[in-house]
Amino acid sequence: MEPIITFISENLVMIYVVVLAVFLGYELISNVPTVLHTPLMSGANAISGVVIIGAIILLRQADPSDFLALGLGFAGIVLGTINVVGGHAVTDRMLEMFKKKK
């Protein structure tokens, strides 16, 4: 128990951030029309590519001799970037049909 309690009180504000973000995520999309389910999923998926931030930090912190870290980091960046770039691009294509009128 002890370490968890410490963790909680140390990161109390962080926990507020998490709780608020959870509610916010819920509220943001709770009124989405069914037609947007797929594009929204795709867009959210692209956002989940933020992990590349982690990969970048990892590589910047990596020892140049630590090939495992370098390799996995590189892999992470490639994979994450595909997720981000491909995700946003594919979402944009899905949403093209909405631009026509009005």
Binding site: P33, N45, I47, G54, R60, G73, A75, V90, R93, L95
Partner: protein, 472 residues
């Protein structure tokens, strides 16, 4: 100090862009800009991360080369894949992308975990929270990774629901999950345990991702992808906690929570519970296709139908006896009105023998006050149908039966019909696959241009009206 302020503000702006982006993504009018804003946020966060001061930064040349190379390679692959993919294969693509995001989370967590392992082994202290978080990030990322690949395989038709099956899937999954939780707890309680355990956990998590998705029916894959997307978000957030990085944390949480809700909404749209989707597996009836013999008629939801209509230029409604039975004439007129308000042209194609008495459709549509000018007779309608984007067949059957043209063996061969297949899409509103007055099956239902919207015509039309209105 001032740089740190810039970094903090930049990250904050990224987060706000994510929030606004997600918000705009959930409304048709602003969805595109929402996507772009989110992408902008991502770009900003990336640039900041590249150049921000970092305490433990080694900033080796090779690292920067790898970073840039990785970004270039990833961008090119992602971009080309996204541009090349066929409209119909987009869900698969999203699934793949999501899987890669999960893999990325696994990759960085493994590195971090090794670092933590070394720290523990060399006796340096590591906060228990960080260790746990990294383990969870790896675990959740791994499920998202392999799960997404399986979902892709199912959607792409590479994995056949009926052939690739698991005996006792629920049991297997339960056991796997317990073993995984046990493993993580074990490692947490005794952090000195060897790194192999971590590798083992990773391996098992990857397997669990597969066994989690395998039992779920192909038709439910969109829901699964959405769920796995939420997983990736959670993995990102956990990784963010490891790095104490706000953008990752908030961005990940946002995706995690909105992805979860989206999954629930998707289940609701199919009138099922999430549990039912995950556990139900094959037992599920919600398949998006109705089969007669070995022919399959594909279904469409009222929502998708609505969007198809809302963004068309010319829509033609073909009323039949089913419209009379459902007394759907007024709602049909309402749909006409709301579409016209949105700049869509709507006409009615009246087949001479539609209904059960001469002029049956005329009587009903006049009752609903449909303008005479909108009624097209057979010849005019068939001309118009060539330039029509969507045909809605409202409870008609025999009068749109293409066998009258193609099949000399058909009892109605030679009868002039409404050539609805000359249009780009057709949607048939009826209650079942049962035939009409002439008692013969209708090949239109199985045509690739056609989608079925089952249910009472009045209800279906009302739903479409509501959905079109919701599109604003």
């Amino acid at each position: 100090m001032t740089i740190q302020l810039l970094v903090d503000l930049g990250y904050l702006i990224s987060v706000i862009l994510f929030i606004v982006g997600l918000r705009r993504l959930s409304s048709p009018k602003s969805a595109r800009s929402g996507n772009l804003l989110a992408a902008l946020g991502m770009g900003l966060a990336t640039v900041i991360t590249l150049f921000m001061p970092l305490e433990q930064a080694q900033d080796a040349m090779i690292a920067y080369i790898l970073i840039l190379a990785g970004i270039v390679v990833g961008s090119v692959i992602g971009w080309v894949a996204a541009r090349r993919v066929a409209m119909t294969a987009m869900p698969q693509m999203v699934s793949i992308f999501n899987g890669l995001g999960g893999a990325c989370a696994v990759a960085i967590s493994m590195v971090e975990l090794q670092g933590i392992q070394t720290a523990y082994e060399t006796g340096q202290g590591v906060a228990g929270g960080v260790h746990f978080t990294a383990l969870m990030a790896m675990f959740v990322g791994a499920i998202a990774f392999t799960g997404s690949l399986i979902a892709y395989g199912k959607l792409q038709g590479l994995i056949n629901d009926r052939k690739v099956r698991l005996p006792q899937p629920t049991l297997i999954n339960l056991i796997l999950l317990l073993v995984l939780i046990g493993g993580i707890t074990y490692k947490m309680v005794d952090p000195q345990l060897p790194y192999t355990l971590v590798l083992g956990i990773m391996g098992l998590a990857l397997v669990y991702g597969i066994t989690f998705v395998i039992p779920i029916g192909g038709a439910d894959m969109p829901v699964v992808i959405s769920l796995l997307n939420a997983f990736t978000g959670v993995a990102a957030a956990l990784a963010g906690l490891v790095y104490g990085n706000q953008v990752m944390l908030v961005g990940g949480i946002l995706v995690g929570s909105s992805g979860t809700i989206l999954t629930v909404l998707m289940c609701e749209a199919m009138n099922r519970s999430l549990l039912n989707v995950i556990i139900g597996g094959f037992g599920s009836t919600g398949g998006a296709a109705a089969a007669v013999g070995d022919q399959v008629a594909r279904e469409i939801s009222a929502n998708d139908a609505a969007i198809l209509l809302r963004y068309s230029n010319q829509v033609v409604m073909v009323p039949g006896y089913g419209m009379a039975v459902a007394q759907a004439q007024k709602v049909a007129h309402e749909l006409e009105e709301v579409l016209e308000e949105n700049g869509v042209n709507v006409a009615y194609a009246i087949h001479p023998v539609a209904g059960r008495m001469p002029g049956h459709m005329n009587v009903l549509l006049a009752e609903a006050d449909v303008s005479y000018d909108k009624l097209k007779d057979l010849d005019d309608a068939n001309k118009l149908l060539r330039d029509t984007d969507v045909v809605i067949v409202v409870g008609a059957n025999d009068v749109v039966n293409p066998s009258a043209k193609d099949d000399p063996g058909s009892p109605i061969y030679g009868m002039p019909i409404l050539d609805v297949l000359d249009s780009k899409n057709t949607i048939v509103l009826k209650r079942s696959m049962s035939p009409g007055y002439a008692g013969i099956q209708n090949p239109l239902f199985f045509h690739e241009k056609n989608r079925m919207l089952f249910g009472d015509a009045k209800d279906s039309l009302q739903k479409m009206v509501n959905e079109v209105r919701a599109l604003g």
